[in-house]
C-alpha cells in the first residue's frame, strides 16, 4: 500500500536541511523561529513514517507530545521576543549583543 517510507524520510531530511539553512542565514528573530518550526515538522514527519514502517503506535504518540511541547515553546518564545522588542526596537538577532562585553 502506498509510497515507500524511504520517500517520506528523504522529504523530511530535505525539509530539515532547509529549516537549518534558514535558521543560519536569516537575521529576523521571528523568521528564525519559523525555521525552528520547519525542523520540528521534519522530525514529526519522520516519526510518523517510522511508526508506519515499524507498525508501532509509539511514533504517533511521540508526535502528539512533540506538538504539545512545540506549542508551549512557541508561546514562551514569542513572549520573550515581545519583551525584547518592547525594550529595544531591534528587528534582527545581530542587534541583541548586550552580553558581548
Amino acid at each position: 500500500m502506498g509510497v515507500p517510507g524511504a520517500w517520506y524520510l528523504t522529504l523530511a531530511a530535505v525539509l530539515f536541511g532547509v529549516g537549518a539553512v534558514g535558521l543560519l542565514i536569516r537575521r529576523n528573530v521571528l523568521i528564525m523561529f519559523m525555521c525552528v518550526e520547519l525542523m520540528l515538522n521534519a522530525a514529526n514527519l519522520s516519526f510518523v513514517t517510522f511508526a508506519r514502517m515499524l507498525n508501532d503506535i509509539a511514533g504517533q504518540s511521540t508526535v502528539f507530545f512533540v506538538l504539545v511541547v512545540a506549542a508551549a515553546e512557541v508561546v514562551v518564545g514569542l513572549g520573550i521576543i515581545v519583551s525584547i522588542f518592547r525594550r529595544r526596537a531591534a528587528a534582527t538577532a545581530d542587534d541583541l549583543h548586550s552580553l558581548k562585553g
Binding site: V3, T10, V21, I25, N55, D56, F65, L67, V75
Partner: protein, 229 residues
C-alpha cells in the same frame, strides 16, 4: 499523432487490467497515494523555501502555513488521521495566528537590514554546511537500512476493530500516561510564564517624566505637589 497512437496502445495493453476490478482498484489506490505524496511534497518544499527566502515576515508566516498543510497531507497519506487534524488545528489555527499577532502588534514587519554584517562569511558557510548535511543524510540513508529492530514494540499501529484515534488514545492514556500528565503541567507553566513575561510592569511615579506625572495626577493636584515641594 505518435502520442495518440501510444495512448491507444497502452489502453489496449492494459485492457485486461481494467477488466479486472480488484487489480485496477489496487493500482488506482497506489497511483493516488503517489499523487497525494507528490502534492504534499510540493506544498512542503515550496512553503519551506518561501519561509527562508521571502523578505516580509507576514509572507513568511503564510508560507509556513503552506508547509504545515503539506505535512498534514502527508499524515493523511500515512493513515495517521488524528495527527493530521491536530496539525491543522494546533499549527495553522493557533501557532500561525500567534505569529501573525506578534508581527502585527509589534510592527516588526520591516525589512532586514544587511548594513551591519558582523560575520561576513556566515551565509555562504551556512549554505555549504546545509548542503553537506543533506548529502550526508541521503548517503547514509542509501548505504544503511532506514529501519531496523523489532516491530510493534509498544502496540500495533492497526488493530482489528479499532481506528487510528482509538489506538492513539489507548496508547497515550495507558502506556504514556505520565508524559501526558507532564505535558499538562508544561502547558500551565508556559501560560503563566508568558503572562509574566508580557506583562507591562507599572512604573512608579518617580520614574515618569513630568508630562506623564501631570497626565496621571491632573493639573490641579500636580500644582499642589509642586507647591508642597
Amino acid at each position: 499523432m505518435i502520442p495518440a497512437a501510444l495512448l491507444v496502445h497502452s489502453v489496449l495493453a492494459n485492457a485486461h487490467v481494467l477488466a479486472n476490478p480488484a487489480v485496477s482498484a489496487r493500482q488506482l489506490g497506489h497511483a493516488s497515494a503517489w499523487a497525494v505524496f507528490a502534492v504534499g511534497a510540493v506544498f512542503i518544499l515550496g512553503g519551506a523555501f518561501g519561509v527562508i527566502l521571502t523578505r516580509n515576515p507576514v509572507h513568511a508566516a503564510l508560507m509556513l502555513v503552506l508547509t504545515l498543510f503539506g505535512v498534514a497531507i502527508e499524515f493523511v497519506d500515512e493513515q495517521s488521521d488524528f495527527l493530521a487534524a491536530v496539525q491543522i488545528i494546533v499549527y495553522a489555527g493557533a501557532v500561525i495566528i500567534l505569529f501573525l499577532f506578534v508581527i502585527m502588534f509589534l510592527g516588526v514587519d520591516r525589512k532586514e537590514t544587511s548594513a551591519r554584517e558582523p560575520f561576513r562569511a556566515q551565509r555562504p558557510v551556512a549554505i555549504v554546511l546545509g548542503v553537506v548535511t543533506l548529502i550526508e543524510i541521503l548517503v547514509v540513508s542509501r548505504t544503511a537500512d532506514w529501519t531496523s529492530g523489532a516491530m510493534s514494540v509498544s502496540g500495533a499501529l492497526h488493530q482489528a476493530g479499532a481506528d487510528n484515534i482509538q489506538n492513539l488514545g489507548q496508547s497515550v492514556y495507558t502506556r504514556y500516561l505520565l508524559p501526558f500528565e507532564m505535558t499538562a503541567a508544561l502547558l500551565v507553566i508556559a501560560v503563566v510564564a508568558t503572562v509574566v513575561l508580557a506583562r507591562q510592569r507599572d512604573r512608579v511615579a518617580a520614574e515618569m517624566t513630568r508630562e506623564e506625572q501631570t497626565e496621571l495626577l491632573g493639573p490641579e493636584e500636580m500644582a499642589e505637589h509642586e507647591v508642597r515641594s
